[in-house]
């Protein structure tokens, strides 16, 4: 075998920017939190109601912000209407452009139906909150539970479309061997659920709810999602280890050829194992130790969010730096501007804004499983600031923020 040196090759820039990571991250949080809200909201399991309240807040906020990031990743964002003027069925992206708006509407309507009784109860609140409640609740008519179930089920169906299209869109690209595997879509979903469970742990802390049952439920969800992710990763590896071309071969080549890929693989593996270990540890503690330990699960939540985000960063950004027909790896430095750091920070800022707007104007803590005005407990003047139903589970008596 001869040795060769590449003397001359152009520099190939990446084509999808960090906006794509933000979209894939937020939309995964969106569909996963919708499924975490479903047991109580759609299927009427009362033990899941505290989780559903947090999940619905997370779901609505991520669903509103994700399409903004997606739009920003277009180089011609003002031409988004071309998706509908020239829509077709042979592109996964086009299929996605039809599912996504329906899904967004589904989530917004589901959240509105779930929050409406609480909004109606809040109509007499003084000031701006009352005005918003009167305006948003659209009259005193009852909110039939059947309607919430129907819209919720429809949105759950649409969310599977989002899971399928976001995964397939990337997995069909045979030009990038690392993407071209049927194991990528299930891995997106599994890491999405890991991140979503983590997000609810963090929200459980920062919202002041400190609900132990939420933490326990999310630890169980995270355990399941970690095990699925591990199974998918092992199956992907075993599936491809004896192949000559394909995703696993490309991954092995990258890990062999680049110190950065080696540290990425090491970091990913260690974080995954550490997360699984922490979840197992927390779940197996005796009940007496739980309150003290579970006060710290927000740290596990942050690690889980990191896992979900980093997986998407590695898959969508780092894979684009693996050269396809030239030698080695392309250099990519995150630019400071809107296609880089500013875009990442800006998306998260917009998301925080969406959460704060809901927190300010919607009594999401009183969200119920549909039902009429009478079912909702009448809200005191500072309705949005009191965790009425969770005091029993609270560790420190619902300290307030804001």
């Amino acid at each position: 075998m001869n040795s060769a040196i590449e003397l001359l090759a152009p520099r190939y820039d990446i084509a999808w920017y960090p906006w794509a990571v933000q979209y894939f991250f937020l939309i995964a949080l969106s569909y996963a939190t919708l499924w975490l809200a479903a047991p109580a909201l759609v299927f009427g399991k009362p033990t899941w109601l505290p989780t559903a309240r947090l999940a619905l807040l997370a779901c609505l906020s991520t669903t509103l912000v994700a399409p903004v990031a997606l739009l920003a990743d277009l180089h011609q964002p003002l031409r988004f209407w071309h998706f509908y003027a020239y829509s077709n069925t042979h592109s996964w992206m086009s299929v996605g452009s039809l599912i996504l708006p329906l899904y967004v509407v589904g989530v917004v309507v589901t959240a509105w139906l779930a929050w409406r009784p609480a909004l109606q109860a809040n109509r007499q609140a003084p000031g701006f909150a009352g005005l918003i409640a009167r305006w948003l609740s659209l009259g005193d008519s009852p909110t039939p539970r059947a309607l919430l179930v129907l819209v919720g089920l429809g949105t759950l169906v649409l969310s599977t479309g989002i899971m399928l299209y976001t995964g397939a869109e990337v997995a069909i690209v045979k030009a990038r061997p690392l993407w071209h595997t049927g194991w990528l879509p299930p891995m997106f979903v599994a890491t999405g659920f890991i991140a979503a469970a983590g997000l609810l742990m963090v929200l459980n802390r920062v919202s002041g709810l400190h609900n132990l049952s939420v933490t326990r439920q999310m630890l169980k969800v995270m355990l399941g999602a970690c095990l699925v992710a591990g199974l998918v990763a092992i199956s992907w590896f075993l599936d491809g280890i004896n192949a000559h071309v394909g995703s696993v071969v490309a991954a092995m080549e990258s890990v062999r050829g680049s110190a950065e890929w080696r540290s990425t693989a090491l970091w990913g593996g260690l974080t995954g194992v550490a997360l699984l270990g922490a979840v197992l540890y927390l779940l197996t503690r005796p009940a007496a130790h739980r309150p003290a330990l579970y006060a710290w699960t927000w740290v596990v939540g942050l690690v889980a969010l990191h896992v979900g985000w980093m997986f998407r960063w590695v898959v969508l950004m780092d894979v684009q730096t693996v050269a396809r027909h030239s030698a080695g790896f392309h250099h990519y430095g995150i630019p400071a501007g809107s296609s880089g750091i500013l875009g990442i920070v800006g998306t998260f800022g917009l998301w925080l804004t969406a959460i704060l707007l809901v927190e300010l104007f919607v009594p999401w803590r009183q969200a119920r499983q549909g039902g009429s005005v009478a079912e909702a407990s009448p809200a005191p003047p500072a309705a949005t600031h009191t965790a009425v139903e969770n005091t029993a589970n609270n560790i420190e008596g619902a300290p307030r923020h804001g």
Binding site: D73, A175, D239, N242, A243
Partner: protein, 258 residues
Amino acid sequence: MDSIRRTLLGQLARLSAGAALIPLASVARAAINRQPPRREGDSSKRYGMLIDLRQCIGCQACTVSCHIENAAPLGSFRTTVSQYEVEHEETGEMATFMLPRLCNHCEDPPCVPVCPVEATFQRQDGIVVVDSDRCVGCAYCVNACPYDARFINERTQTADKCTFCAHRLEAGLLPACVESCVGGARIIGDMRDPSSQISRMIDEHRDALMVLQPEKNTLPQVFYLGMDERFVTRPLAEPVALEVLDPNGKEMGYEFCH
């Protein structure tokens, strides 16, 4: 690990979780990601290119003339010539290998079905083009092309690529890269016309012709004569051009680590 055990492990993996997921993936592949019908262009023709590497001296005249003809932004190329320094491991003899690259105008172009707005399409004469008035700049096609033949034009913010200089072909001219090739290494023509130079050369050299990345099943229509099979796929070469940055992180130039 010996190959039998690895095969066994692979089959185990397929049998386990694979059974649940792979049928779903194949159903999806069958229904979506098909080639849309070709449109525009002359259906009596099929353009292709043959590159006679024996004639290429790596002068980059094609790169420059294409750049001028098609006004690509600096740093983006519709065609370019990769150059490799190859050392014979036993004799130590050095040689330079030149590999002109451009869009392969594949028979099954993976960049076309992914386009969500059908802005990129294949003409009936086989040329893959982009309607830059319709393109939304989603860059899906840029990622879908295994040959890095596409880029986002920073001026138009839409996808850009080699068109075989369709505007010149229609005016009875040769593409800029063909016109300027010093050694006459690039031959373009209608492969449906048996008397064209490209048809005659394909007939003559059929067994010696190679295409890039045949394992991707894109059926490229740019054929290489005098090709080394080790360069058909991603070459096992060492990239040596390292960026040299000044203290402010600005690029000053390149250096070779050898």
